[in-house]
Symmetry: C2
């Protein structure tokens, strides 16, 4: 039994394969927190059909129903790996994980989005915040995991202002050591910031436009949305990146526009809207606009997309019970102008 302890929070399709990958590597004990599927998993474990690891049944040794139960175990976690959706306007991950964090914890955010480390720096000035960008394709259907795309991830760190770079780098590589194995594809990618900006050229633009129009990237192009909205939005992302010291490749717009070649592809945020789930708006676009404003970059197209998607998000929050409206719309005497 290893002396290292790792806990994975947010066990869906991705989290389960990440957890299994760490157990498979056999350098750390693994705990998981399972909410929705707890009854099934504690009884029968997961049924996994994985393109990386094969078909098998997996019942992790340490299964907790929530953060409090995991904290009550008395374990001190070396790695706290978060694989939930990133919804800071619904739940603040930095608050959620607090009972699990000790001085020795490395916090690993394997989540979509930009500048995710920021709320952690204040709260956990001594803990390294690792950044994992995952390209896995894996889905969870009530404890049945179907992984169709190789677990490929690029790992770096969110640059903490309080911790020496060497320590951040070392802790990041330590995490890669307990995670990387002969089946998955986990690489150290020194310039995490560059990489997250590069992803935003797609996610803050095509993902947002398609979420708003609830359609795929092909129809967005055929209907003129790519030229009128998405590409101007991409130029704004590139401008913010540049002001932030990040030079993206000259042909980045062309590459991004070709990324769904041959597919009528609906990006993740659009799929969330279709399913009626809250969208990763703040992590993907809100955080970027905060940075843009700090850098005094004007972003009229992204601002408009953000304002409109805030309305969509509000609707989704009402639908999912995060916001309750009075039964009858209240009448105000506000003077609008």
């Amino acid at each position: 039994m290893s002396e290292l302890e790792t806990i994975i929070i947010g066990i869906g399709g991705v989290g389960c394969i990440v957890a299994y990958g760490i157990e498979y590597t056999n350098k750390s004990n693994v705990s998981i927190i399972v909410r929705r599927d707890y009854e099934k998993v504690i009884k029968d474990g997961y049924e996994v059909d994985s393109c990386d690891y094969g078909k098998f049944n997996w019942k992790p040794k340490n299964i907790y129903k929530d953060i409090e139960a995991a904290a009550a175990s008395g374990k001190e976690f070396d790695y706290i790996v978060v694989t939930t959706k990133s919804l800071p306007d619904v739940v603040k991950t930095e608050d959620l994980i607090k009972p699990l964090v000790s001085k020795k914890s490395t916090i690993v955010l394997m989540q979509n989005g930009f500048d995710l480390g920021r709320p952690f720096f204040d709260k956990y000035p001594e803990n390294v915040i690792v950044s994992g960008v995952s390209h896995i394709g894996s889905h969870n259907n009530g404890g049945v995991i179907h992984q169709t795309q190789n677990d490929k991830s690029l790992v770096s760190y969110f640059e903490s202002p309080t911790i020496p770079v060497e320590i951040q780098e070392k802790k990041t590589k330590d995490f890669i050591d307990i995670y990387s194995n002969d089946k998955n594809n986990c690489t150290y990618f020194p310039d995490g910031k560059w990489y997250r900006y590069r992803k935003l050229v797609y996610n803050a633009t095509l993902n947002t436009t398609c979420a708003l129009t609830v359609t795929d990237t092909a129809i967005n192009e055929y209907a003129g949305g790519l030229d009128a909205i998405s590409i101007p939005a991409m130029k704004e992302v590139i401008k913010i990146a540049k002001a932030d010291g990040v030079d993206l490749p000259d042909d980045v717009i062309n590459s991004v526009c070709h990324s769904d070649d041959g597919d009528y592809f609906s990006p993740s945020m659009c799929v969330d809207v279709q399913k009626g789930n809250p969208i990763e708006l703040e992590s993907i676009l809100g955080n970027l606009l905060v940075r843009g404003k700090e850098l005094k970059v004007e972003t009229p197209v992204l601002d408009t997309l953000y304002s409109l998607l805030k309305v969509v998000q509000y609707k989704l929050k009402v639908k999912n019970g995060y916001i309750t409206l009075p039964e009858k719309r209240p009448i105000t005497d506000k003077f609008y102008q």
Copy 2:
């Protein structure tokens, strides 16, 4: 039997009550064109439950399946009343009605939207184009008509460049004469242009924002969309109107923002998106932007709403079979920049 002949095209909830109102007034013979409900109506007529006229069964004397059948009847129509949705990017009404138009025809457009007369002026330089803005609440469910709100309409004309004003005014009043009765509420409203601009302050802004975010005007307000998008859009409508010689009241924004007081109200375009029907985008917003460009008014917010809703409309056209996409998305070697 009257000597006048009127035909109503697009018999839904509104068209049926308009047609019945004209028959009830008893100053013109009435013909209708029914497509979807033809079999039911030709056999059993309409079942009407009307807040204006009561409960009854109504089988109009002249029922035609399409324009060609109506034209083949040999009748010369004095009034051609169009109550269809206004979808010029799906079907051009001015082409559709051609077989029915003679020199003596007055064309009555009882449709949502702006500048609807323009495509008729070239094609029918001798025919007066009457503008009817209806405030009725009436729905058709397979030949069962349920009218819940009084048939109130404001009637004027789209100002033709080729016909003397006196004639346009007279023909408009002639139409009111055959339509207005003791149950409905049909008034001559001389400044049709003013009135259509006034309606656009809601329709081009709140209707569009809610169509895009697929929500009601309350959630749009609570989520910040009213302040960030809809009100700036209203200011652009007011600017175009002003450049077009139309002064809207100082408190128009306030009135419009209060129009759904007490209701979680989803505007018509939003309801169309929810139902998967094409939206009246060109009539409500496209035509306005054409006019804005002619008048050199800058409209960045409306332009963005239009571009995004064009994507929504494209998707709806695909869904309704107006556009067919290849099974696999074709790959191009276009260089995007």
